[in-house]
């Protein structure tokens, strides 16, 4: 058993302070007595409901696309793999507003694809679908990156053994590869969900802001700040609570599956 060097405690304490003190400051300022009043407001309830619905939808899409994609990236040895890997991570470094502008010029009514859809009477802008698309765009890389690293680090001999015993690629993927990387799936999915929950810039740029349709909790927080900064802090505390629950559950899943 090796111990970390003693000096590492100083950066550890500083890191913890940088991350925790602002949140503690926020929670200390929140007037908790306002939370019932806030939850009674249709605007806040609609925002919470919309955020949860859209984040669940985008997380399902992220899992359906991200898990197989991570597998391909981890196992492919083709010349294009490093390029694909880089492209997949680019949305992570994009400022969210730029992500929104990119979606707008592609899927917007006058965008490359949006123009064709518009001809069929399909419009994405200002709809709940636009919110989900923005969330998928910004959160998908988190699952792919987390999972791809885990699959690459996992033992390939297990997959070979399964193949030798007659399992097809699908069966090997579902029964051998995935179970060994469950913790990474859990943490990657939680990261993606949390990223979707906090998504602001791409949503406000691409989807707009209408109560119950496109105005998610981060947008409602920003709007409330205009009229009542205390209520906006209270809503921020609720968002923080939801995010903490999601991350907490995924941590528990991780711990449990890595003790299996």
């Amino acid at each position: 058993m090796t111990r970390p060097p003693a000096w590492a405690w100083a950066p550890f304490a500083l890191a913890l302070g940088i991350l925790v003190i602002p949140l503690a400051g926020l929670l200390a300022t929140v007037s908790w007595s306002q939370i019932p009043e806030l939850l009674a407001r249709p605007t806040a309830r609609d925002a919470l409901g919309l955020s949860i619905r859209t984040c669940l939808a985008s997380t399902v899409v992220v899992m359906l696309l991200g898990i197989p994609a991570a597998h391909i990236l981890a196992r492919s040895r083709a010349w294009w793999t490093p390029w694909a890997r880089t492209l997949v991570t680019v949305p992570m470094v994009l400022p969210p507003v730029v992500a929104g502008m990119a979606l707008l010029v592609t899927l917007g009514r006058r965008g490359l694809i949006g123009e064709k859809l518009d001809a069929f009477g399909l419009q994405i802008g200002f709809t709940t679908i636009a919110v989900v698309i923005a969330q998928v765009f910004v959160s998908l890389p988190f699952l792919i990156v987390a999972l791809e690293g885990a699959i690459r680090a996992s033992d390939r001999r297990l997959e070979r053994a399964a193949a030798l015993l007659g399992a097809g690629p699908t069966r090997t993927f579902l029964r051998v590869t995935l179970p060994t990387v469950l913790p990474a799936i859990a943490s990657g999915t939680a990261l993606a969900f949390a990223r979707s929950l906090g998504e602001f810039g791409a949503t406000i740029t691409f989807a707009g802001s209408l109560q119950g349709v496109t105005r998610t909790v981060p947008l409602e927080i920003y709007l409330l700040r205009e009229s009542d900064s205390e209520l906006s802090m209270a809503l921020a505390a609720i968002l923080l609570g939801v995010a903490a629950v999601v991350v907490g559950i995924s941590m528990r899943l991780q711990v449990r599956s890595s003790h299996d």
């Binding site: 890997r85 991570t89 992570m92 470094v93 994009l94 400022p95 707008l104 010029v105 917007g108 009514r109 006058r110 419009q123 802008g125 200002f126 990156v145 987390a146 791809e148 690293g149 885990a150 699959i151 690459r152 680090a153 996992s154 033992d155 001999r157 297990l158 053994a161 060994t180 990387v181 913790p183 990474a184 859990a186 943490s187 406000i204 740029t205 707009g208 802001s209 209408l210 109560q211 496109t214 105005r215 947008l219 920003y222 709007l223 409330l224 700040r225 205009e226 009229s227 900064s229 991780q254 599956s257 890595s258 299996d260």
Partner: protein, 263 residues
């Protein structure tokens, strides 16, 4: 052969990507946080005056700074955001808001030194994309069923939009209620929206990318711009000099050239 649990830790590449995100965010904030003008005629050793101004004043103020003797450094944001920052101790010498309500709130919170002054007015107009795809004829029933975008009612431009619609007897059904007038304009110039309610100065600034329709009822509900020296001003005399330049002939002419209403 042993079964090893896979490590869920993020790979190094992801950490690097996150670091890059942080770096990008920092540079983005650095450039958006405030732009300073070097003030061509600044006298040696003169302390700069820090002006917190409503975002809609960005272009005229930057031009104005080039022509004054005082050295200004600006921070542009939504009016209520600026007041919030000053409340938390941000170092501002001058506050300029895009509505009276926000300025009065700052006054009530004890953030000002002296009485605020009105410097300009602005009013709402209707804009459509240059090709007017929905065939809108003005602020009337032709807006029904179109993709109209306005500001939300808690933002000054949204409050004005409601009043104007009320005076005109129109029941607006917007597809989006934005948090800032910039977003409304963006939705129209990108062609995403059929029409939007923005300030005359925004429409003027957008030039040929939009088609502008005046709103007769809008002149009854102008928005007003207010300026005041802050209570914590480090440089109150330079702050007063800036304000008197702004309310003087040169400042008022400049604001007029950007589409603002002045006395």
């Amino acid at each position: 052969m042993t079964l090893r649990p896979a490590h869920p830790a993020l790979p190094i590449r992801a950490a690097a990507a996150l670091a890059a995100t942080a770096a990008l965010a920092l540079t983005a904030c650095g450039s958006a946080g405030g732009s300073s003008a070097d003030g061509s005629g600044a006298s040696d050793g003169a302390q700069p005056v820090t002006v917190f101004a409503a975002a809609s004043l960005t272009a005229p103020f930057e031009e104005f700074a080039d022509s004054t003797a005082v050295q200004e450094s600006f921070s542009f944001d939504g009016s209520s955001g600026l007041v919030e920052q000053i409340k938390q101790g941000a170092p501002a010498d001058v506050l300029v808001t895009a509505d009276e309500r926000t300025m009065r709130a700052a006054e009530k919170a004890g953030l000002l030194d002296g009485e605020p002054q009105q410097i300009a007015t602005n009013e709402l107009v209707l804009v459509t994309p240059a090709d007017n795809p929905a065939g809108i004829t003005g602020f009337d029933d032709s807006l029904n069923g179109t993709r109209l975008v306005v500001c939300e009612k808690s933002v000054p431009c949204g409050a004005a939009s409601l009043k104007v619609a009320d005076t005109a007897g129109l029941d607006l059904r917007p597809v989006s209620e934005e948090t800032s007038v910039t977003n409304v304009l963006g939705a129209v110039t990108s062609g995403e929206a059929d029409a939007g309610l923005v300030y005359r100065t925004d429409a003027k600034n957008a030039g040929d990318t939009v088609k502008t329709f005046p709103i007769p009822a809008a002149s009854e509900h102008p928005s007003t711009y207010w300026v005041a020296v802050t209570a914590e001003a480090k440089n109150p005399s330079a702050a007063r000099a800036f304000i008197s330049d702004l309310t003087g002939e040169k400042g008022q002419n400049l604001l007029r050239s950007y589409g603002f209403g002045v006395q």
